[in-house]
């Protein structure tokens, strides 16, 4: 359950690392050096990082699987026969059949879509909330910052899973699509704080740069300064945080579905299948192992991708 807090903790470090200068003698050396393009440096680093390529490959594969699941399996995940309960591999069903007699592999492949949809949309919504709050707090400072920072503190103080349980319990009888969007809504409402903090601190850094003060003195309007000068600076750290958040949102959705308050049948979701597989693990293990592996690899892919990008942009501690 503490997936979120965990990622949050590492991200907070990233935010702190981002602003702290490097002490000691090496600073003197670089003092007169021409600043090199950060993005260029980062890309050079990324290209040499195998973790980046592995996780990027996985992300592409997962996205393809979510978009066109029939590419990877010819079987229908909803074609279930109780007579095949826990039967061994046959035909296209390379991992056999589950308790309901459904193709384990096909279900895992088709389960990708809901997970990725929830993760991506929640990350997108999070990004929008975080960008607005982070930009306002960072750019205007003063009482705006004070109020928004307190709001962030309070939301951050709410234990995510507990709050999600309370929020989602209300919706136990709703339809499929409503549930999907309810899960996205809950994750976004509770999960935007870390990204907002990161954006806020990079906005504050960008704001103090000379060209921004120059633009302000030349009479550029706040909106224009934010859009043209500040936003581009906040984007890279925001993307890193959101990539990692996407992974943790997928994990959170699976957890909620596992508990029975997230997605429900007929939507195919890994969390539910893991729960069913778990209950019958003594009879057959693959219905537990296969969706677990799919879920773990997906979450890992996004978290590793975000981690690799962050290390490239912020190599101080490598």
């Amino acid at each position: 359950m503490s997936d979120f807090e965990t990622v949050a903790a590492t991200e907070n470090q990233a935010a702190r690392r981002g602003v702290s200068g490097e002490p000691g003698a090496p600073n003197q050396v670089g003092a007169t050096q021409k600043p090199r393009s950060l993005a260029g440096d980062a890309w050079r680093d990324l290209r040499r990082n195998p973790i980046f390529w592995i996780s990027l490959g996985l992300v592409v594969l997962i996205t393809a699987m979510a978009a066109v699941p029939s590419l990877l399996t010819a079987n229908d995940p909803r074609d279930c026969l109780l007579s095949r309960q826990h039967a061994g591999p046959s035909g296209g069903a390379i991992f056999g059949y589950d308790f309901q007699g459904c193709d384990v592999y096909a279900r895992a492949v088709y389960g990708t879509r809901a997970s990725l949809l929830v993760g991506a949309l929640a990350a997108l919504a999070t990004g929008v909330i975080a960008l607005v709050v982070g930009m306002l707090a960072g750019y205007f400072g003063g009482w705006v910052d004070a109020v928004l920072s307190r709001v962030i503190d309070i939301v951050l103080g709410i234990p995510l899973l507990l709050a999600a349980i309370v929020l989602l319990k209300r919706l136990s009888t709703s339809s499929d699509n409503v549930r999907l969007f309810a899960v996205i809504f809950v994750l976004a409402v509770l999960g935007w704080t870390t990204a907002a903090r990161v954006i806020r601190s990079s906005v504050i850094t960008a704001k103090e740069q000379d060209y921004v003060s120059a633009a302000r003195m030349l009479g550029a309007r706040n909106g224009r300064i934010m859009w043209r000068h500040i936003l581009p600076n906040a984007l890279a750290p925001a993307i890193v945080v959101l990539t990692i958040a996407l992974g943790s949102f997928i994990a959170a959705e699976a957890t909620l579905s596992f508990l029975g308050i997230g997605l429900k049948a007929p939507t195919i979701s890994w969390g539910q299948d893991i729960d069913t597989g778990r209950i019958h693990m003594r009879e057959a293990a693959t219905p537990l192992i296969v969706p677990s592996a799919f879920l773990a690899l997906t979450v890992l892919a996004f978290i590793m991708l975000g981690d690799a990008i962050r290390d490239a942009f912020d190599p101080k501690l490598r």
Binding site: A25, P26, A31, T32, Q33
Partner: protein, 345 residues
């Protein structure tokens, strides 16, 4: 001079004919991911017992790196000492084992840093930090170390020292914090004190107090002092000799009076001319044009040539080496005589 492996007796700290501390042709590079920066390129200077040498230069000129090399506290990597000697009482510190060098630190040569707030450990009381040196190095008891810490804090004129023993660094003002730093450096009665920009982080009025304190302590405790600074104004009243550093080299070396009267290197001249003077009315302040060099791509010939008003073709082609100007002065400039004569006018 006969070099012996025997530890010199305290009675004769300086071997006959030698200096107390001598840096010879030191070269240091920083090897980083971005490339190799040549930070120190043949620094030579010496220090005799009881005198004060000021090492002057902009940030990045290598003055602090040299000091850290003397102390043996450079981070290696990225720093690499590629050649040179650092002789203390005639023995080369660079060939000694880490354990031997550790014995020298604090006891023979001590250092105080620019920013006392970050140089002191934030989570221990200052009395504890001063006493730690005594307990760890001298095997003093807790109570004795405490007593001695109060004495040291009295020595550096911290008011109500006994009461402030248990206070933490952040509870002191900047000046008092630097005094704590000095007290800590003096704990083991070092023979050499290196003061690395001791007043840079302080207010102007406090700066003067700290400089006076250092000068008094140097005299009273009969130490030798290396005063590292970028501020010519700080140097005048305190130092005996000045070594001016630029791009990891000593470009000019002279006693204070002659250097102030007539600098013999265009860089020193530029530095002096950029100080506002009380005695000249309506004088336009000059500055040195350009920026300090990138140490990964040091200019050919004389490293100062891109910024030098005296520049000629020879400066681009040939590295100037110490030109001795008499009365112990040296200058690394092809036109040292001219510059000096210009300045004297």
């Amino acid at each position: 001079m006969t070099q012996s492996a025997v530890r010199p007796t305290p009675a004769s700290p300086t071997p006959p004919g030698g200096h107390l501390l001598e840096v010879r042709d030191l070269h240091i590079e920083f090897r980083t991911r971005e490339g190799v920066a040549k930070v120190i390129n043949g620094v030579t200077y010496h220090l005799d017992a009881g005198e004060t040498l000021a090492v002057l230069g902009e940030s990045g000129s290598g003055k602090s790196v040299t000091a850290q090399a003397i102390m043996g506290i450079l981070d290696t990597p990225p720093a690499h000492i590629t050649s040179g000697q650092i002789l203390y009482q005639g023995r080369d510190l660079l060939t000694q084992s880490e354990e031997q060098r550790r014995q020298v630190r604090g006891k023979e040569i001590a250092i105080i840093f620019q920013d006392a707030l970050s140089a002191l450990n934030p989570v221990f009381p200052v009395g504890w930090q001063i006493g730690e040196t005594l307990r760890q190095r001298e095997g003093m008891s807790r109570a004795d170390a405490r007593r001695r810490a109060v004495e040291l804090m009295d020595l550096v004129k911290i008011p109500a020292a006994a009461k402030r023993l248990g206070d933490y660094p952040h509870q002191f003002s900047g000046g008092m914090r630097q005094r704590v730093m000095i007290a800590m450096a003096l704990a083991l009665d070092p023979k050499v004190l290196i003061a690395d920009e001791p007043t840079t982080a302080l207010d102007v009025t406090v700066q003067a107090q700290i400089m006076d304190l250092l000068a008094d302590l140097r005299h009273d405790l009969n130490m030798a002092m290396i005063l590292i600074t970028h501020d010519l104004g700080v140097v005048a009243g305190v130092a005996d000799r000045i070594a001016v550093m630029y791009a990891g080299r000593i470009v000019e070396h002279a006693d204070v009076r002659s250097l102030y009267r007539a600098p013999a290197h265009p860089y020193t001249k530029g530095l002096l001319e950029s100080i506002p003077r009380m005695d000249v009315r309506g004088q336009a302040l000059s500055t040195i044009k350009g920026l300090p060099p990138n140490l990964m791509r040091i200019p050919s010939g004389c490293p100062f040539h891109p910024r030098c008003p005296y520049v000629q073709q020879v400066c681009v082609d040939v590295v100037p080496h110490d030109l001795v100007l008499g009365d112990g002065r040296t200058s690394e400039c092809h036109f040292a005589q001219e510059v000096r004569d210009d300045s004297a006018r």
